[in-house]
């Protein structure tokens, strides 16, 4: 009994001697290969060439600054508690008088570490952040000589200061529209 109309009948008759020469089948394969010579290339010359990403691509983390170059992170701990891989840890410190140009609010992260070996790049930290202080950038494929090198410290993630290093800041921002990373 047939359940669907889509079942294909398989021809199981013994091959004739012409068929056993495989001439036609080989030719068919060669033709496919030949056709690809005239098609657009599927590969690019990475890393000289880079692909463009979707605007919601989730790569390595960036700790953001505001338009005045002050760190946005207040070390509230919501990213850490949201992290399903439990890969974020931080220590908060109080901003001292005179540090107002460094930190946006009265607390900041004195230490901020992400274990990139554990991170699954799910983006929940970005979602949890009430201060738009962390976002997942379009940088990916980090490499390192030791496992230790994948424990990213604050310095590894902090975005360059837009006032003092506008060029590198722009580059670090990536191709995301500014409104997506909170710098309205």
């Amino acid at each position: 009994m047939q359940l669907t109309q889509r079942a294909k009948h398989v021809d199981r008759h013994p091959m004739t001697w012409i068929e056993r020469l495989y001439f036609w089948n080989i030719l068919k394969g060669m033709l496919i290969t030949l056709r690809h010579l005239f098609k657009r290339k599927a590969t690019i010359n990475f890393p000289e060439q880079k692909r463009s990403f979707s605007s919601v691509f989730r790569g390595l983390h960036v700790l953001n600054r505001d338009e005045e170059g002050r760190e946005r992170c207040t070390a509230c701990g919501l990213c850490a508690v949201a992290c399903p891989a439990e890969a974020i840890t931080m220590e908060a410190a109080e901003r001292l008088p005179g540090e107002e140009q460094l930190y946006r609010e009265e607390k900041y992260a004195a230490k901020y570490e992400i274990n990139m070996l554990r991170c699954i790049f799910c983006g929940l930290c970005e979602e949890a952040c009430p201060k738009d202080a962390i976002y997942l950038s379009q940088t990916f494929a980090p490499s390192n000589y030791s496992r230790k090198g994948f424990i990213y410290k604050k310095d590894d993630m902090l975005i360059p200061n837009p006032l003092t290093e506008p060029e590198t800041y722009k580059k670090a921002l990536g191709e995301r529209p500014a409104k997506m990373i909170g710098n309205q």
Binding site: T74, C83, E86, I88, T89, E91, E94, R118, K131, R147
Partner: protein, 898 residues
């Protein structure tokens, strides 16, 4: 019992409650701010609004505050009705108008009652778009941070601070929507219980300043149930750590001991555990300096020192656990073990224990002390020697005037009405001390005198209660009339309470207090008798000790000892320089087990790093004879561990040494000391499981497990296992209502703040689900004939050229370890010598602050003069235990010069 209806379901509830208490006890999530189980109702915040129906036919009802609605028979309310819901959400919306949106930087965030209540009420979005009112914050001293913008005007802070704790310098100012809670000007909050504002405040107005130095969210803390080592009361605490350092102390609710509160010494005195002076490695002294030594080698060398035929003696410690003291005693032998305090102090504590054990008067717990209606303090500055007892006594002073309110049927929970009737009045409260103490402000009669005169007053009171007692010879008229009025007041009371202690080092005072209590008991009074003792485990150590340090000195003077083992004890601090040197010089090798570097550790040969309460598990016995278990908070990343672990390995054959677990030690302890049988019952054994699960030390939201130590070790080692308790060091385990001695944090769905404790109690404000932790070792024997002490001292006569020097206590400074904490350090007074004006003038001293010289143990001491006119003639007071005055044995006589 009363029958009430909540959302049309009938419940049987105890009489004399209000509907808010009833709803919370039944497990309903009803929002509230101003109500607090210890502070009762004032109906100020309007947050617990419910619909109250007249009867079953009433379909409309009216909005009433549950906290002001008596749970009488037939009361009908609805929590779920839409009108009630909207009312609560609307109310919180107005409370939140000016509340800043700063949860990410607020220390309270994640354990905020306001966050919990806002979510619970259903108010989700802020509609208010205008400027918020702002306030200036004040500097409130080293303990508390002030952030007035967060205030929602619930008035809990002033109600606790002024009404409950008797503080004077926090108040509420201004009016309308511009109310300000603070001091009249910037300055240190004076009250000894100010730290409780951290927990009392439903939001982040008052937060812990010491936590701010190393801030960690509640969900990231690994905590352990512990017991405060700051004084002899044994208040229950939750000690929390992250990254290997202790971050803060919170109250652990124990309905029998400290209830919801803690004193500031206990709460902020923890920082010494993180001190740079901690000994973290086994050390050996090689040509004058300490060198680290392998543990195994250290064991072997010390063991060799203690070999066959060697004379080894051990000195225990009143701040080390029962288990550590016991193992030291086992290691050196019963006859070679000495309690680590002077003989004077030891004998006083022995006498107190004797009265606890053999007397027929009940020693009430801290919580029970609140229920007495007349108080007589005999020679104890309670606020400074046992602060939380002072808080209990302040509540006891309210009982007598409260009766007036009860007489016109105002229930206890109706705090506004009671306060209206009682005003500032207090019940009978008598104090006999050496100098003016803080509780004098609520006393009905104070007496200042030499300890012998205090004892004479006590004896006179006892004689007036029981005429068969011998009368006090040559009593002066003034104290005779005072003793009559005290005796009268105590006899008129239903439940009189006598408080005394060892702080004046006077046997006579202790005996006089017992006499008063015994006399009252014979009159059929339900009398209580509380003694305070000097340190956290003074009672426990004394129970194990036959002899004390002076006996050890006598012994080594007769015959040199080969090895002296010192357990967590700074001899210089406790017995003074002269005696310490006497004993240290007469021992060939000195081995110390110590937390921090101190004067004693400067002259040892081997040092083993001993754990403080943060790194050890153990049992201590408080002044009431209550044995309580404390658990280690974490296993440190160095060699620090409980002293009993070091001692246990030392006493075993090193080749086959196997670390024994805690329960085995406890079993051995109770087998050798059957009177301590009950310490086994203070907490579940290490093999206790709920289902198959251990009890977690961290909440289930704990973050950063795979990254916390990744900078040290990327490969994520297995978390440490605790073989000494049924608790785990992680978040794995049973997340529900845990056994009360093993509860490491309070959390319940929708209740993230400390008020989640409601869910852990059988009835809100009552005992915990499986009983309050701790076991009393001694119970009074009702049938015993009270044996009076008939030794009445003669009156003290000041001598012309010599002064008698007595210790004066300070909550900050008189305890050796807490005094090392940064915040507490800021509050330690300048060292001084106190005299009254007469006496100062007679010695040719006029100006306060002038230099005064005196001699103690042939050494010249120089301190500045403080005039305290309450001190009697012929007596000088020295602050006990400050850096400048440590190691002095009281009382002593001296001449002073300017």
């Amino acid at each position: 019992m009363a029958k009430v209806f909540i959302d049309d379901i009938e419940y049987e509830v105890p009489d004399g409650k209000n509907m808010l208490e009833v709803c919370l006890s039944l497990g309903f999530d009803l929002t509230y701010f101003c109500w607090h189980p210890a502070l009762h109702s004032i109906g100020a915040c309007r947050q617990c609004g419910v619909i109250n129906y007249k009867d079953e036919n009433d379909k409309r009802g009216r909005i009433t505050m549950a906290c002001m609605l008596p749970a009488s028979n037939g009361t009908r309310i609805s929590i779920e009705a839409k009108a009630a819901h909207d009312f609560r959400a609307g109310n919180i919306e107005s409370l939140m108008l000016n509340h800043p949106h700063d949860c990410p930087v607020c220390d309270e965030g994640g354990e905020c009652h306001l966050q919990d209540m806002t979510l619970m009420s259903g108010h989700n979005y802020r509609r208010y778009r205008f400027k918020k009112r702002t306030h200036t914050n004040q500097y409130l001293g080293p303990f508390l941070n002030h952030e007035m913008n967060r205030c929602i005007q619930c008035y809990r802070c002033v109600r606790f601070y002024k009404d409950y704790a008797g503080g004077k310098d926090l108040d509420v100012f201004a009016a309308h929507d511009d109310i300000y809670f603070g001091r009249s000007e910037d300055g240190v909050l004076e009250n000894e219980f100010s730290g409780n504002l951290v927990e009392v405040c439903p939001t982040g107005v008052f937060t812990d300043k010491t936590l701010k130095q190393h801030y960690t969210r509640k969900w990231d803390l690994t905590s352990a149930p512990s017991v405060c080592h700051g004084c002899s009361l044994g208040c229950n605490i939750l000690a929390s750590q992250r990254y290997g350092t202790i971050r803060r102390i919170l109250t652990r609710y124990n309905g029998d001991v400290n209830g919801y509160f803690l004193c500031d010494r206990g709460r902020f005195g923890y920082e010494y555990t993180n001190s740079k002076k901690r000994i973290i490695k086994a050390l050996k002294r090689v040509s004058g300096t300490y060198q680290p030594i392998e543990n195994g080698n250290a064991f072997e060398e010390v063991k060799a020192l203690m070999g066959e035929g060697k004379k080894v003696i051990g000195i225990g410690s009143p701040r080390a656990s029962l288990e550590s003291n016991f193992l030291l005693k086992e290691l050196v032998g019963e006859n070679n073990f000495y309690g680590g305090i002077s003989n004077t102090e030891g004998n006083l504590i022995k006498q107190v224990i004797d009265i606890l054990k053999k007397g027929k008067v009940k020693t009430p717990s801290l919580a029970e002390a609140k229920g007495y209606d007349a108080v007589f303090i005999v020679g104890e500055d309670v606020t400074n020697t046992a602060p939380m007892l002072a808080l209990s006594l302040r509540q006891a002073a309210k009982n007598k005037p409260n009766e007036e309110a009860f007489a016109i049927r105002i229930p206890l929970w109706n705090d506004v009405a009671i306060r209206e009737i009682v005003q500032e009045r207090t019940g009978p409260f008598f104090i006999a001390t050496v100098h003016h103490t803080k509780l004098d402000e609520i006393s009905s009669g104070s007496f200042y005198g030499h300890p012998d005169n205090i004892a004479r007053l006590g004896h006179a009171v006892a004689q007036k209660i029981n005429n068969n007692l011998p009368s006090v010879p040559d009593a002066d008229r003034e104290s005779a009339s005072l003793s009559s009025s005290i005796a009268e007041a105590l006899l008129a009371a239903k439940k009189p309470l006598i408080v005394s202690g060892t702080s004046l080092f006077s046997k006579n005072v202790i005996e006089a207090a017992a006499n008063v209590a015994y006399a009252l008991k014979e009159q059929g009074k339900d009398v209580g008798l509380i003694y305070t003792v000097p340190e956290a485990n003074s009672v426990g150590m004394t129970l194990l000790s036959e002899n004390f340090v002076d006996d050890a000195i006598a012994r080594v003077e007769k015959e040199r000892a080969d090895v002296l083992l010192i357990l967590e004890n700074d001899l210089y601090q406790r017995i003074g320089k002269k005696d310490s040197e006497a004993i240290l010089k007469r021992c060939n090798q000195v081995v110390a087990f110590e937390n921090l570097e101190n004067e004693t550790t400067n002259s040892c040969d081997y040092l083993f790093p001993a754990g403080t309460f943060a790194e050890s598990t153990g049992t201590i016995v408080n002044n009431e004879g209550r044995a309580q278990r404390f658990y280690q908070v974490h296993i440190p990343r160095n060699e620090v561990r409980s002293s009993w672990k070091w001692l246990d390995i030392l006493r075993q054959d090193l080749q086959t040494a196997e670390a024994k677990d805690f329960d085995a030690i406890v079993d051995e302890l109770i087998q050798k000391n059957p009177e301590l049988q009950k310490i086994k019952e203070t907490a579940p054994t290490a093999d206790f499981r709920i289902g198959t699960q251990k009890i977690p030390r961290s909440p289930h939201r704990f973050s950063g497990r795979t990254s916390m130590i990744a900078n040290i070790n990327v490969s994520e080692p297995k978390p440490p296992v605790d073989n000494d308790s049924p608790m785990s060091f992680t978040m794995e385990g049973y997340h529900g209502i845990q056994p009360s001695p093993d509860t490491a944090f309070y959390w319940s769905p929708a209740w993230n703040s400390v008020q989640a404790i409601n869910k852990y109690q059988i009835e809100v404000g009552g005992p915990l689900h499986d009983g309050n932790p701790g076991k009393r070792l001694f119970e009074p024997d009702e049938n015993r004939q009270a044996k009076y002490f008939n030794d009445i001292p003669s009156s003290f006569h000041p001598s012309n050229d010599e002064l008698l020097v007595l210790p004066l206590y300070h909550i900050y400074g008189s305890e050796e370890l807490t005094a090392l904490s940064h915040a507490v350090k800021e509050r330690i007074p300048q060292a001084y010598i106190a005299l009254n004006e007469n006496e100062a003038r007679r010695k040719g001293l006029n100006a306060e602050g002038g230099k005064v010289e005196f001699y103690y143990q042939d050494k010249k001491w120089e301190l500045s003069l403080k005039i305290d006119n309450s001190l009697p003639d012929g007596i000088a007071g020295l602050p006990k235990g400050l850096n400048e005055t440590s190691g002095i044995g009281y009382p002593f006589r001296t001449k002073i010069n300017s």
